[in-house]
Each structure stands twice: as structure tokens, then as C-alpha cells.
């Protein structure tokens, strides 16, 4: 359980647009251990999907990974060295061909939000699962087909053998998402990156998928990075959580600590702003304002213009991402907030928060 399989250190990804450079991911560090589900949460524009795409090196023009390290079980997915003038990729960084043949699919698979976009409408569902398995595992055509049917059955497709020849449009949204999971699992990857896989689904279907993930994880020991904006889903399935805001991780820790020993005001505010299904809340406390553009992030702490706890130093000093609290099992609980630093936060005056709605 405790072996680290993926380690991301100070990852930076930028997009070069006509209106300036967007620092979509700006110094993100986290890791994934064997067999755990790691959550990546945040609102739209936080940089969650860019982070996961960067990990798989799927960033395309005009974007580019410009710094940081991504290490997957001793192999360098992203690695740079400083020549004195600029950062250049190190020699041991995997080539594009190596990424394709050795990493994507068979070691790290990714499941996207929209299953209709990810399935080819002109090929049969079974055929696509089979092709995926053939490409990523040493199985002959007939074996691959059997494995494909078995995987479809495992993810709960009724009459799997009969429906093997159906086309994607003949499946409901929930079933298509199951097909993607079957595809990903069929390749027996070590790590699955699930990018909002249940967001477009109805709540009962989401329940089915989460149940399925729990079962499969117990059986195959697969690790997951679960990207979502839904704190309910996080609470339900994640072991550890990374909370992102404007291209950075602001808080990181075991799931229970994130919810019950919250250390960053943004996480706190996020939790206070969500309506609860399990109890009647009289007044929600919304987070004031909207997320600023990643093109020109606020100075100091990026959350300070919206932060209910902001004080004078928050405007100037960029908080460090550091261990802030003890956890029950010794896992790290980090947060980047000046409250936890010796920079005169507590002596300073609160900032007047003036935001536009």
C-alpha cells in the first residue's frame, strides 16, 4: 500500500495565447501510492485536467510542460536539466514512442468525462474494447475477444456477449462510461486517471460506477487519480485529496483530515458553500467573487481577493506549501496559507474584501 508509483514534483504547464501566457499549472507536487485513490478537486479553471494531461504528456500546442518532474516507477515521464540558459529535457526522459508503447494504456490509462467523444461511433463497442486489449496486452484475437466480453460483463453490461456487436449509440450514457472503464481495466493498467468520469451521469448511475470502482480496486489493486469538482464523490471514494485553486495545490492530505481538520480557507469555503443532501441547511455561505484569470493571477496568495480570512501580508507574500498538521497515520497534510507561517499574519489587519459579483 505504501509504495509510491507516481511522483509529480513542481510541475509547470503553460499555454501561449495571443492575450498572454496562461500558467494553467504552476508548481504542482503530489504523489500516488500503489492501490490508493487520490483525488484532485477544484472548480473549473483550477487546472485539474491540465495537470493530468501533463502527467501523460498529452499537452498540445499552444501548451507546453515547461518545468518540473514526473516520475513513474523509476521512469522519467517529465524531467528537465538546467543548461545555465534554459531548461532542456533530460536524456532519460521517455521518448514519444516509449510513452505510447510502454506507458499510455498499459501502465497508465485515462478515462474522460464524455464517453461519446471517447468511443468511435462507427466501430462496434466490443470491437473497440478488443482492439484496445490487443494493443496493450499479448493476447491473440480470439483471446482478446473473450477478455473483452469478460470485462464488459465485469463492469455490469447486461447480456455482454450479445451486446458485443452493438454500436456506441445503442448504449445509454452510463453504459458507455462502463465501456470506457472496461477498456481501461482490460489493459490491466497500474494507474487509472479518471477525469470527471461521473459528472455527466445521473446520480444513480454515478452510484453504480463508484461501487464498481471500489470493487475493481479491491480486486486488482489498481491506483486511481480521481479528478472531480464534487466534494461528495471525494468523500465517498478518495484516500488522499489534493485541492487545487488557480493552477496550484493549496491543500493536500488524507481525506478525513481534509474534511474534518481543514487547514486552508479555500477548502473551508468550498465545504461551506455546497448544499447538503443529508441535512437541511438554512444559509449557505458562498465564496464571494469568481476565480480570476490564470493569465494574471493575484499577487501573494492567489486566493486572497476572495478569502474571508485574508489579511495584509496575504497580498504580498506567496505562502509556502508546507506540512501544517499532524495526521493520524503520519501521512503528510500540507497547505499553503500564511496562517501557518511566521510572517506576521496574526498581527496584521484583516483585508477589506471588495469583490464583484
Amino acid at each position: 500500500m505504501s509504495d509510491t508509483i507516481l511522483e509529480v514534483t513542481d510541475l509547470k504547464t503553460q499555454f501561449y495565447t495571443e492575450r498572454g501566457v496562461v500558467r494553467a499549472v504552476d508548481g504542482v507536487s503530489f504523489d500516488v501510492k500503489q492501490g490508493e485513490i487520490v483525488g484532485l478537486v477544484g472548480e473549473s479553471g483550477a487546472g485539474k485536467s491540465v495537470t493530468t494531461s501533463s502527467v501523460l504528456r498529452l499537452i498540445e500546442e499552444p501548451g507546453e510542460v515547461v518545468g518540473g518532474e514526473v516520475d513513474y516507477m523509476g521512469r522519467t515521464i517529465v524531467g528537465f536539466e538546467d543548461t545555465g540558459e534554459e531548461l532542456v529535457p533530460r536524456d532519460e526522459m521517455l521518448t514519444e514512442a516509449q510513452m505510447r508503447d510502454q506507458i499510455r494504456g498499459n501502465e497508465i490509462a485515462i478515462i474522460f468525462q464524455d464517453p461519446m467523444e471517447s468511443l468511435n461511433p462507427v466501430y462496434t463497442v466490443g470491437g473497440q474494447v478488443k482492439e484496445f486489449i490487443e494493443l496493450n496486452r499479448d493476447l491473440s484475437g480470439e483471446e482478446a475477444k473473450e477478455e473483452a466480453i469478460e470485462m464488459l460483463r465485469r463492469v455490469g453490461i447486461p447480456e455482454a456477449a450479445e451486446r458485443y456487436g452493438d454500436y456506441p449509440h445503442e448504449f445509454s450514457g452510463g453504459m458507455r462510461q462502463r465501456v470506457l472503464i472496461a477498456m481501461a481495466l482490460g489493459c490491466r493498467p497500474n494507474l487509472i486517471i479518471a477525469d470527471e468520469p461521473t459528472t455527466a451521469l445521473d446520480v444513480t448511475v454515478e452510484g453504480q460506477i463508484l461501487e464498481l470502482v471500489n470493487d475493481l480496486q479491491a480486486e486488482f489493486g489498481t491506483s486511481f487519480i480521481w479528478v472531480t469538482h464534487d466534494m461528495g464523490v471525494v468523500a465517498e471514494i478518495c484516500d488522499r485529496v489534493n485541492v487545487m485553486y488557480l493552477g496550484q495545490i493549496v491543500e493536500q492530505g488524507p481525506v478525513d483530515e481534509i474534511f474534518h481538520d481543514t487547514q486552508h480557507p479555500y477548502t473551508e469555503a468550498l465545504l461551506n458553500s455546497i448544499p447538503r443532501p443529508d441535512r437541511t441547511v438554512d444559509d449557505l455561505e458562498p465564496i464571494e467573487g469568481t476565480m480570476p484569470s490564470a493569465r494574471s493571477p493575484p499577487s501573494g496568495c492567489r486566493f486572497h481577493p476572495r478569502c474571508p480570512d485574508a489579511r495584509e501580508p496575504c497580498r504580498e507574500i506567496e505562502p509556502a506549501f508546507e506540512q501544517v498538521a499532524e495526521t493520524a497515520d503520519g501521512a503528510a497534510h500540507r497547505a499553503s496559507c500564511l496562517k501557518h507561517e511566521e510572517v506576521g499574519y496574526w498581527e496584521a489587519e484583516p483585508l477589506e474584501v471588495e469583490v464583484e459579483k
Binding site: 472548480e43 453504480q208 463508484l210 471514494i237 474534511f259 441547511v281 469568481t290
Partner: protein
């Protein structure tokens, strides 16, 4: 007498909108070939009745395809109902022509889910908000301008935004502009179709709070359509849960969430992930998909997925035996139970099938009597590779003979919380009905 004169004065708490037996069936195909092959009927909304009092918020919740949006549009007469009646402030909308209803529309406004596409990008914010006032010939030009600016302030935007274009605003701000537009004609009823589901969580809360404040101030009545049970718990007074065109359950909010009686509502509430890792538990997940609204299940529409299907009277099984029979039924219907047939066409001796079935589904012994006979017959069909027969048999004898399939349930039971009634469309509660 014109329609506007016929409008009754409705005080707070009195019935503003009355819906009775409202039904909307669509022809699935109206093309040329439909005439040749006949067309299928999509039963989007079927025999729905409820009332909304002035000043309250009623929510229609349900999963995609349950008919909640169709119901709302049919209520507003944006879609012509197939059957049933709708009365707004005492005026029978269903008996009036579109032309006659038109002046009433200033009292019934609507806001839509997608704040992106519901605002005309070529119009300035001010024009957008003035549009409904202009359409209903309200106020002078100067008054409209002043009112639009005032409305911007009411929804917590700035007066200066009057001259800006929609693209300059974020999703949450656009939804506020939508609200201002809906309020412009000072309506009684605002129908909100997924008002916050396109917004980020933190912005959702802002808009929901504004909606609530405005209701308190102006006494609006909201009919909110949503798939999000958490949002509904926050803003609604009463909640109607829809499933496949029927209302499964309707009760005051606290009653519905704390004392849900319909197995579908229970499954729905059970399925929502609770934002607290300490309340993780084994959730009963609902199996299968929502059936097609073309030829939907008879009786209770939820029965094909219901974990509490009532056994047919002639079976007389113990609850345990019945639940094993249900498990067996599902396995046969979904063909998850697949014996190893020797080759392409050959069947198997029936003994092998019965042994396997007994081991997997009836380890305590197969039930006797009627149920046992049916299971025997199913096993014979499976042995002969006649899967269609086997599926038909379990469906007809175990499911369609149930009261859940033969009668549509509609009961009202006493509520435990609050003061209102509790409507539940489930035969499990037939003995509690008042």
C-alpha cells in the same frame, strides 16, 4: 371577458397554479414513413396532478429523461398537453388559445439552465432586461430604462452593467441577468429549469441565495426543475420526485428527505455521495437503466428496477425465497448466468442446469409450488438454449403478475414531518393510505 380580467387575486399561501391529470405524449416519428409503419408513442408525462401555492417553491426532481422539463413546459403551455388541465390564478390555460394566453405570460416567466445560450449575444444587458417589458407594453421608455437598472441592483449586479454585452460576464453573473429579465414584468410564477447546474459550486451558492432573497422580498412562486437533490433540499418547500413521466412521491421537503417512502426516492437519496468521509457506508445501488418511455412498464413504472417488488399473490413465498427468486429473475433477464454449452448448437441435460441454478440461487432449496414449477420450466428452456423463452417466462410470471405491474399506485399517507400531505405512488403503502 378578457383573460386578464378573469385572473383571480391570489393571496400568499393560496393556490396559484393547479395541475390535474396533465399528460403529454409525443409521436416518436412524424415523418413520411410514420404513416406507413405507424409511429410509436413516447409517454413523456402521464397523468400528473399537483398544486402550487403563491409564495412557495416546488421542485421537480428526477434523472435525465424522467419528463421534468416536458412537464414544466407543458404547464406553461409552451407545449400543448395531450390531456389534463392547468389553471393559473383561476384561468383555465388548457381551454384558451395561445393568443389568449399571451397577456398572461407576463405573470409566468422562465429561466433556463444554460446562461451562455439564453442571452442574446448581440443585445446589451439593458435591452435584454427591457425586452419582456416591451413585449407586454409596460411602462414608458424612460421608466423601462430606470427599472432595468434597478433590477440589476436587485440581483446584486451594478447599474453600470446596463450598457455591456453578455459575453463580458461570468456564468454566475449571466444567470443573475436572466433572473433580472424574468423579474422585469413582476411575475407571480418563475419556472427555473436547472438554474444553477451549469455553475461552479461556489457560484451556485451565490445565485441560490439571491433567488431566495428575491422570493422573500417580492413573494415570487418558484417551480424549480433540477436533478440535484442537494440543491433542491436547500431551496424547495415541497418536492416532487419524478420517474419516467410519473410523480413517484410528493411531500414537504423535510418529510421527503427524512421520511422517504417510495423505493425510488430512497434509492435516489441513497445514491448521492455525502460530502463527509465519515458517512461512507455500503450503499444499496440501483440496478439497471431507466426503461424507454416508449411502451413504459405497466402499473408502477419503477417496478422493473424496484428492489421491493411485491410478489404475485399466487406465489406465497417467504420474503427470503422471494428475494432469491428475484435474484434469479435478474440473472436470467441479463443473462449473467451463462452455462458452458458443449458447442455452437447443442444444449445441455436439464439436470446440469438445475444443479447450477440451485447452487447459485437456491442453496437452501428451491421453493415448491407454483414458483418451483416456473423455475423448473425456466431451467428446461435454458438447457435447450431457448433464452428468449426463459426470459419471457420469468418476466411474465414473476414480474408482470405482481400488483405493481397490474395497477398504477396512487396513495396519500399521513406525513411524519410538517403539516402537509405525503403522496406516494407505491403499493407497499396501500394499507396506510388516507
Amino acid at each position: 371577458m378578457s383573460v386578464t380580467e378573469a385572473l383571480a387575486d391570489v393571496e400568499m399561501g393560496e393556490t396559484l397554479l393547479e395541475i390535474e391529470g396533465l399528460t403529454k405524449h409525443f409521436q416518436s416519428d412524424t415523418g413520411l414513413l410514420a404513416g406507413v409503419f405507424g409511429s410509436e408513442v413516447v409517454e413523456a408525462v402521464d397523468d400528473v396532478s399537483f398544486e402550487i401555492a403563491k409564495g412557495e417553491t416546488v421542485a421537480l426532481v428526477g434523472e435525465s429523461g424522467c419528463g421534468k422539463s416536458t412537464l414544466a413546459r407543458t404547464i406553461l403551455q409552451l407545449i400543448e398537453p395531450t390531456d389534463g388541465r392547468v389553471a393559473f390564478k383561476g384561468v383555465e390555460l388548457t381551454e384558451r388559445s395561445q393568443r389568449e394566453i399571451r397577456p398572461l405570460r407576463r405573470d409566468m416567466q422562465m429561466i433556463f439552465q444554460d446562461p451562455q445560450s439564453s442571452l442574446n449575444p448581440r443585445m446589451k444587458v439593458g435591452q435584454i432586461i427591457e425586452e419582456p417589458m416591451k413585449a407586454h407594453d409596460m411602462y414608458t421608455k424612460t421608466e423601462r430604462r430606470e427599472r432595468a437598472k434597478e433590477l440589476l441592483e436587485r440581483v446584486e449586479l451594478k447599474r453600470e452593467y446596463y450598457n455591456r454585452y453578455p459575453h463580458e460576464f461570468s456564468g454566475g453573473q449571466r444567470q443573475r441577468i436572466n433572473l433580472a429579465r424574468a423579474m422585469a414584468t413582476d411575475p407571480d410564477l418563475i419556472v427555473c429549469d436547472e438554474p444553477v447546474s451549469a455553475l461552479d459550486v461556489s457560484v451556485q451558492a451565490q445565485v441560490l441565495n439571491t433567488m431566495r432573497d428575491l422570493q422573500e422580498e417580492f413573494g415570487f412562486t418558484y417551480l424549480v426543475i433540477s436533478h440535484d437533490l442537494s440543491v433542491v433540499r436547500y431551496i424547495a418547500d415541497r418536492v416532487a420526485v419524478m420517474y419516467l413521466g410519473h410523480i413517484a412521491e410528493l411531500a414537504e421537503k423535510e418529510e421527503l428527505y427524512e421520511n422517504p417512502k417510495h423505493p425510488y426516492t430512497q434509492a435516489l437519496l441513497d445514491a448521492i455521495p455525502i460530502p463527509d468521509p465519515r458517512s461512507r457506508d455500503a450503499r444499496g445501488t440501483l440496478e439497471g437503466d431507466v426503461p424507454s418511455p416508449i411502451g413504459p412498464p405497466s402499473g408502477c413504472r419503477f417496478r422493473t428496477r424496484c428492489p421491493s417488488l411485491i410478489q404475485p399473490d399466487e406465489l406465497d413465498l417467504s420474503p427470503d425465497d422471494w428475494s432469491q427468486v428475484r435474484r434469479f429473475t435478474r440473472a436470467v433477464q441479463r443473462r449473467t448466468f451463462v452455462p458452458e454449452y458443449p458447442d455452437e448448437d447443442a444444449g445441455l441435460p436439464v439436470g446440469e442446469i438445475t444443479d447450477a441454478v440451485d447452487a447459485d440461487y437456491f442453496p437452501e432449496g428451491r421453493p415448491d409450488g407454483e414458483a418451483g414449477d416456473i423455475i423448473d420450466e425456466v431451467c428446461r428452456s435454458i438447457a435447450d438454449r431457448e433464452w428468449d423463452d426463459a426470459q419471457k417466462l420469468v418476466t411474465e410470471r414473476f414480474e408482470e403478475a405482481s400488483i405493481c405491474a397490474t395497477e398504477r399506485p396512487q396513495y396519500t399517507i399521513p406525513a411524519e414531518f410538517g403539516t402537509g400531505d405525503h403522496d406516494v405512488s407505491c403499493h407497499l403503502h396501500r394499507d396506510d393510505a388516507i
